[in-house]
């Protein structure tokens, strides 16, 4: 007689999980749109102007791209966590990965003539341009990037 196979609890970490103001995703770009929808919906609930929502959404997509590809190096065991917070007159969003960190000062300027036609390397530059502040907290257990935008 075949014994039933015990599969255990469903592994929810293969999908995005949402808890309050936080969304956690596996390290794949397949879930970028889920993060975007989550963040934009929360910001819309705060009554923020659509143009500002777009700037924040663009910035979050850059940071999640970096966290998945450069931070976690698309490792299936590692997660990216995005948290959205509202302060008095600003929005604060943190993006955390579980990678080994990177050097934000080591990024070449994408607007230098020799880099202008390169396919990659504009992400953090765009975030710095669109947001009021960006803060990096780096360790060998992961990177945390915090952006703020007045609303």
């Amino acid at each position: 007689m075949d014994l039933p196979v015990f599969l255990g609890e469903p592994n929810n970490m293969d999908k995005p999980t949402i808890s309050g103001d936080t969304i956690k995703i596996p390290s794949t770009l397949d879930y970028l749109a889920d993060v975007d929808m989550f963040v934009e919906n929360l910001l819309r609930r705060y009554g923020i102007d659509e143009s500002v929502i777009a700037d924040i959404a663009i910035s979050v997509s850059e940071l999640v791209n970096n966290a998945v590809c450069h931070g976690n190096k698309s490792s299936p065991d590692k997660k990216v966590t995005v948290r959205v917070g509202r302060e008095d007159s600003s929005v604060k969003i943190s993006v955390a990965d579980e990678g080994t960190g990177f050097d934000p000062d080591g990024i070449e300027s994408p607007i230098a003539d020799e880099n202008l036609l390169k396919k990659v390397g504009r992400g953090i530059f765009i975030v710095k341009s669109l947001m009021d502040s960006i803060e990096f907290k780096l360790s060998d257990k992961g990177s945390l990037v915090i952006i703020k935008k007045a609303v």
Binding site: A54, S61, R122, G123, I126, S129
Partner: protein, 112 residues
């Protein structure tokens, strides 16, 4: 993001709709653009009228298509660049690279 394409007088017009942020949708746009380039369709217009926004992945697709097409003696032109995308092109200085037109019709005419 959704994508439709059509051709007129040897020019391919790409019409993405939604957001270009990376992931599977952006790969589709990138692959389709490069498919056409490989088929020697080297006159391309990208109509951005219905693109809500794009990030550096979208800009990367535009610039890599631009350089590949130019290396094949073709041209890539943008039409209906929205304010949001124009500001990104300005921030990144790519506004100096692309030819952009107020309508697809104007972009098509520019090839004649």
């Amino acid at each position: 993001m959704k994508l439709s394409t059509w051709e007129q007088d040897g020019v391919v017009v790409f019409e993405p709709k939604g957001k270009i942020m990376g992931g599977p949708d952006a790969s589709l746009l990138n692959d389709k653009l490069h498919d056409y380039i490989e088929k020697r369709m080297s006159k391309v217009v990208i109509n951005l009228a219905q693109v809500d926004w794009m990030n550096s992945t979208g800009l990367g697709i535009l610039i890599s298509s631009y350089t590949t097409i130019r290396n094949n003696d073709g041209e890539l032109k943008l039409a209906n660049v929205t304010d949001k995308i124009r500001s990104l092109l300005t921030i990144t200085k790519l506004v100096t690279v692309f030819d952009s037109y107020d309508s697809v019709e104007d972009a098509l005419k520019s090839f004649k």
